[in-house]
Symmetry: C2
Subunit: 276 residues, 2 copies
């Protein structure tokens, strides 16, 4: 949880192509209801995870705030001071650019499916006709790996490959963030998304629960999701290859930039990629 | 509430003598239980208060995070990038320095006393033998004024008057923060506090509730409290006069720096100043 929160906080810098964070603050809320033992173990581990992830990102937590809370909370802020030419400004997408996504979708489905599998009740019974226990475990593992993975490699590479704008995918889902990015473009362009890379089996899970999480309409909530980047088409293949070489994971060309009214939409013939 | 939170956040910069904040982020938690109307009015007002206070501090809120929460929450972070010579480093206190405090103590007593007065029950009956309704209202007014007042004037002036170190007084009370500041001194010094400036009638309230908030032992929790500053004695009178001229409020010389083992303590003959 600490690692995921830290990756999520740093992601805001990475979405601007800023790969080096100067300073982090950590905010922790400790539940009243925790016993002393739980607090000493769980909160300490959570804070360690946050600090470890910061270290993995080449930065350090120098302060913050800890308080009691109804819920267990962890979050923070990341700060970097950079020259303006070191920032990828988010509003320069051009007609002919492609859209690249650096993490698969479906963190919400994967975490809920795993929870239902563990509980073993009625919900899991419903899912077990479309997905095996092994697939759920694998998807959950993939989701945790994905959520804790920093977008730092993407941040460095997108500067090198002359990206024209980027955002990170979190609470508003792919389409929500794509729309927000489109809205701020200088050129009158729109984003068309024609592929949805979705974690192992989670498209089937989504159908089995009647599209409850809106994953297939591009609205699924992601936690610490990937970067969505508009970049020149001729740079994109090498970008994806480099991500694969450095981080060992796929990145996908999921759409393109056309003339338009600064909106984002899914193509009618959307292709679902089952990511294994 | 928004104004107080913002003043409290900025105070961390001001305690370093940094009077100009480059950027603020605001964090808001909206209670599930709020109705739409309450949310539209209360949360909007709270956020406006935070933004207005930031503007009063010559800075701006450029982002942050809003989420649902069990509690109504507001907080944030303040960032400034400055040259090292623009910072008052907190560890240069010298024997012979005096300690200056820029806000009176007793915010916790004032807010609780006012609440008890409004409720009018048994607790207020107990208090009404030591304090009048008018005094409680006045102390509450003074507390709100004090909590929303920025420590910015103190920040500018303490640089001009060659302060040797400072902290702001919040959750650990005067003595807690004084101890923390003392602990980090380069020289083997200690802080002796011989005056406690306390808001109108709140010392009497504290005695009436059997020292429940530890105000008279220097441990009372403060919200958005003042700066505690170690500075050369010959600078201190002019410093206090300038605070009075600019902000229209008192600052007090409440103690001095002696040879010691990097601790802070209250003088045995502590003087209570009843601030009106």
């Amino acid at each position: 949880m600490g690692k995921i929160a830290c990756a999520n906080v740093l992601s805001d810098l990475y979405a601007m192509g800023v790969a080096n964070c100067d300073n982090m603050l950590m905010i922790v809320g400790i539940p009243f209801k925790m016993t002393d033992l739980e607090r000493d173990v769980v909160v300490a581990q959570m804070m360690k995870g946050f600090r470890d992830e910061a270290a993995a990102g080449g930065t350090e937590v120098t302060g913050g705030d800890t308080n009691f809370s109804e819920w267990c909370l962890v979050g923070g802020t990341a700060t970097a001071v950079v020259k303006s030419e070191e920032v990828v400004l988010p509003y320069n997408a051009e007609v002919g650019d492609v859209l690249v996504l650096t993490k698969p979708l479906g963190t919400q489905n994967a975490t809920f499916a795993y929870q239902w599998y563990q509980e073993g009740g009625e919900k899991w019974e419903k899912l077990s006709s479309v997905i095996t226990a092994e697939e759920v475990q694998y998807a959950y593992f993939m989701a945790v790996q994905s959520m804790t993975r920093l977008n730092r490699t993407g941040a460095s590479l997108m500067r090198r490959h002359h990206a024209h704008g980027a955002t990170d995918i979190t609470g508003f889902g792919l389409l929500g963030h794509a729309n927000n990015l489109a809205k701020h473009q200088k050129q009158p362009v729109s984003f068309i998304i024609n592929k949805l890379p979705i974690m192992c089996g989670m498209a089937a899970v989504e159908r089995a629960i009647n599209n409850r999480f809106m994953l297939l309409s591009g609205r699924g909530i992601e936690t610490s999701g990937g970067l969505l980047i508009a970049m020149p088409k001729e740079e994109s293949s090498q970008f994806c290859r480099s991500i694969k070489e450095i981080d060992g994971v796929e990145a996908w060309i999921i759409g393109h930039v056309v003339e338009g009214d600064r909106t984002a939409s899914l193509d009618q013939d959307i292709e679902i990629i089952d990511v294994r």
